[in-house]
Amino acid sequence: MANETGIGAAVKRKEDARFITGAGRYTDDIGAHGQTYAVFARSPYARARLNGLDLAAAQATEGVVAVFTGADLQADGIGDLPCGWTVHSKDGEPMVVPAHPPIAVDKVNYVGEPYAVVIGESLEAAKNGAEALEADFEELPAVVDLASAASADQIHENVPNNQTYDWELGDKAATDAAFAEAHHISTLEIVNNRLIPNAIEPRAALGEYDAASGLYTLHTTSQNPHLERLVLAAFVQIAPEARLRVISPDVGGGFGSKIFVYAEETAVIWAAGKLRRPVKWRAERSESFLADAHGRDHVTKAQLALAEDGTFLGLRVKTLANMGAYLSTFASSVPTYLYGTLMAGQYKTPAIYVEVQSLFTNTAPVDAYRGAGRPEATYVVERIVETAAREMGIDPAELRRRNFIAPSDFPYETPVALTYDTGDYEASLAKALEHADYAGFGARKAASEAAGKKRGIGFSCYIEACGLAPSQVAISLGAGVGLFEVGEVRVDVTGSVTVVTGSHSHGQSHETTFAQIISDRLGVPFENVTVLHGDTGRSDYALGTYGSRSLAVGGSALIKATDKIIAKGKKIAAHMLEAEEEKVDFADGTFTVADSNQSLTFPEVAFAAYVPANYPLEELEPGLSEKAFYDPPNFTYPAGAHICEVEIDPATGVVDITSFVAVDDFGHVVNPMIVEGQVHGGLAQGIGQALLEHGVYDETGQLVSGSYMDYTMPRADDLPSFTVDTTVTPCTHNPLGVKGCGEAGAIGSTAAVMNAVTNALGVASVPMPATPETVWRAAQSA
C-alpha cells in the first residue's frame, strides 16, 4: 500500500510527542511507595585482596536500612553473573571462565567493582553509610597493559596466562601458501582504542517485591528485559521466571551497554526481596564510566598478500582482545564470531586466517558496543587495503573495485564461515565517489596546500553481518540462547491494532516503524496501531534489541503474525460472504471475492471475529489475535562505502572533517528519515573513536578518563553535517527484504577517517584517537 504512512514513507515519530514535552517515562522517573535507595561501595583499587570489611559504622549511620556484602548474596544462594557464549580454543577446549560474583567477596579486580551495597531511607543516608564502610584492602600489582597481560601476574586462580581462550578461524595452510606466492605483502600493526559507551541516560534499577504473591518486579534500563529475566532467574537464581517481571520502560540509549546483566540490578532486586521494600538505584556518571561494560580494545597485527595486479591473495590477522576483569554477558563472542567472520569484507580474498587471544586485565569488563566486533574487523580490513593501495601505487578506490565480490557472485561463501546473500558494492562506492566529488579532490588538495594545510581523503567499504541470528548457527558456535524474535498482532474488536514486540526500542523508533509495516499490511490507519514493548509481563519470551536485528528479525516476526491474521480473516470473510476461501483476496484493508462485487472491510471482519454471530465456530476459534516466532535463516549483510575528507592544520594538529559521505545498502527502507538518523548517530560514534574518544587506564589501573571532563564525547561543534544516501539490494531471506541500519555508521566510519588522516599526513599510521597532539606529532615527523 503506497500511502503517506506506509512502508517507505518518512513518517514523523509517534514517540516524539512524549519526549519533546518531558513526558517520557525512564526508570529513574518511576518511584515506588516507601522506596529505599541503594549506593554501591566500589573498589578504589584495580587489584586487591579484601581482607576484612567492618560494617558497624555504616550500619549505625542515621537512615541506613541495611548493608549487604558479597558474602550475604552468596549465603543466600545468589549465583555468579554468567557469560552466555562459550568460545572454544584452537585445541578444542572451552574458554576458561573465572567466577564473577555480583558483589566482590574476597578480592576485587577493577576500579569500580562493587564490594558492598548500602541501602538507605534516602540517597544521602545511603551515601553516608557507604562512606562509613571500613574495608581492609591489600593492594596487589595490577595487570593493565593488554600487550603484556599474558605474561603478567595471574589475576584469577583458575585462569593461567590470564587467557580465556586462544581462538582461530580460517585455513592456516592455505593462507600460508597464498603468502608464499605473494608479489607484495602489506603489514599493519594497529590498536583499536577502548571506548566507553556513555548512553546519556545512566543505568538505573527499581526493584520491588510483593510478599503476598511472591512476585518480583524489576524496572531497569535494559535493551532486552527477557534476557535480563532469564539470567536473573536461571543463573543468578533470584526467583523463577514466572515470579519475576522485568520492565524496561523508556530507555535513554543503549549502544550495547544495556544488553548485559550487571551487578547493580541483581543486587537491587535481591535486596528488595530481602528487605520487602522497594529499592532504587541510579548510576552517577562516574559509576557509568567505571562500571558499564566498555567496548573495543584490541591490539592487532595484520598482513595482506597481493598479486602484482593488486588481487588479494590472503589475509592474516592476529589479535589480542581485552576482556577486562571478568567475562561480561556476551564478551567472548565479540572478538571472535562477530569479528573474525567479517575479515573477508567486501572482497574475494580466497584465503584468510584469524587468531584471537582474549585476555583478562584489571580493568572494567569489555563487551559489545555499537557494532561489536564488526567495527574492529572493518578497521583492520579497510586500513590494510588502503595501506596496500598506497604501497603499490594503485588508486584506493580502484584497488577495492578490482577485488569486490561481484553481484553475480552471490550467494557468496567467504573463507571465514559466512554466506553473503546479496549486495552491490560497486554501486555504493560509485555513488559515494560522486557525492564526495572524488574527481575534484586533487584541486581541493592543491588549494589546501597553498593555504599551508594538509588535505586527505579516506575510504571504507565495510560489510557487517547483523540481524542476529540464525539460532542453530549461533548455538553451534557457542551461544547459550536462541536468537529468534517474537511478535504479536492483536486486532481489537473495532479493528484497531495493538502490536506487542520483543524488540525493545531505546531510540530506534519501533513505535513508528512497526506501526508503519502493520498499517501497510493490514490497511489499518497508522494512528490506530499501537506498539508495546519492553515488558516481560506483556510479551512472550523475546530476545531483544542488539546487532541491528529489530526490523530484520522482530519485524519479520510481525509480518508472520500479520500473515496469520490475514489468512484467518480470509476464512471469516469467506464464511460471511458465502464464498470459497480460495476466491477471497485481501488488499488495502478490504476482503474481496474474485469475480464478484462483494467485499468486507477489515474492521467488519474483526468485529465478526469477536461478536461471532455469523461465524464458523465449529471450524474456527473466535478472536483475531496472532503471534509468531521468527528465526532467520541467515544473517543480513548491510554494506556500504564511506568516504571522509579532512583538512589538517599542521601547526595545531586539528583535524577538520570537511566532508563525510556514507552510502549504505540496508535493503528496503521502511522509514528513510529514521534510517538516516540511525546512520548519523553511528557516524558520530565512529568518528568519535577515530578523533576523540579513549578509555585510558594508568599503570596502576586507575581510570584516567573517568568523567566528561576527561573522556572526550563528540559534541555538536566537533562534527560536520553528513551526506547520507542509500543503494538497495533487498535481503533475499526475510519477508521485508531489510538488512538493519543501527550499527553501520559506527562500523564503517572509523577506518574512513583514519585513512583520510594518514593520507593527509602522508604517514603509514596514526594511533587513535587522532587528537591534535597526536596529529601534530605525526605531522612533525612526516
Binding site: K12, R13, E15, D16, A17, R18, F19, I20, T21, G22, A23, G24, R25, Y26, D28, D29, N198, A199, I200, E201, P202, D250, V251, G252, G253, F255, R282, E284, R285, S286, H506, G507, Q508, S509, M673, I674, E676, G677, Q678, H680, G681, G682, L683, A684, Q685, S707, Y708, M709, M713, P714, R715, A716, D717, L719, S721, F722, G745
Partner: protein
C-alpha cells in the same frame, strides 16, 4: 530552608535542605521528571531549564539560589496540542531518538536562539556545545534549531 519559586507559572513554597539541587527538587518534589540528570560534572546538559529567562544547568544550581526566581522546565513550554516552535522543529526534523537529552537540548536551543541574532550552522554547533547527545550525531538537531529559529523570529 524555605524557598518560594515559580515553576511553569505556578508558585511553589517548599522546605528544602540547604544542599538540595534544583534538578532534584524539580524531579523529586515537584514531579517534573522531564528534566533529566545525565552526569555529575555539569557537562551533559540534560538538566537544562530556564531560570529568570536564561538557560541554567539545574544540576549545578542550589534550590536556594532559585528562591524568588521564575523557573521554566520542558513541561512548561508547550504541550502535544500546542508545541513550542522548537519542540515542533525537533519532531519535524527527527532531532531526537532516545529522547533523554532532548528536554535539555530544547531548553538550551530556545535560549540560544533567543539570545542570538541570526544563527548559522556553525553558530548552532558552537552554541549547543554544552549539551551532549549520543544518538543523533547532532546533524538533525542543528537542522531543527535552524528551522525553529525561522519560526521563532517570524512569530
Amino acid at each position: 530552608m524555605e524557598i518560594s519559586i515559580t515553576v511553569n507559572g505556578r508558585s511553589e513554597a517548599l522546605d528544602v535542605p540547604d544542599n538540595a539541587l534544583l534538578a532534584d527538587v524539580l524531579r523529586e518534589r515537584l514531579g517534573l521528571t522531564g528534566t533529566h540528570v545525565g552526569c555529575d560534572t555539569s557537562q551533559c546538559g540534560a538538566c537544562v531549564v530556564h531560570m529568570d529567562g536564561a538557560a541554567v544547568k539545574s544540576c549545578t544550581v542550589l534550590a536556594g539560589q532559585a528562591n524568588g526566581a521564575e523557573v521554566t522546565t520542558i513541561e512548561g513550554i508547550g504541550n502535544p496540542d500546542n508545541l513550542h516552535p522548537m519542540q515542533a522543529a525537533f519532531r519535524e526534523n527527527h532531532a531526537l531518538q532516545c529522547g533523554f537529552c532532548t528536554p535539555g537540548m530544547i531548553m538550551s536551543a530556545i535560549d540560544l536562539v533567543q539570545k542570538s541574532d541570526g544563527l548559522d550552522e556553525q553558530g548552532v554547533r558552537d552554541g549547543l556545545e554544552g549539551n551532549l547527545c549520543r544518538c543523533t550525531g547532532y546533524h538533525n538537531i542543528v537542522k531543527a534549531v535552524l528551522a525553529a529559529q525561522d519560526d521563532m523570529k517570524s512569530a
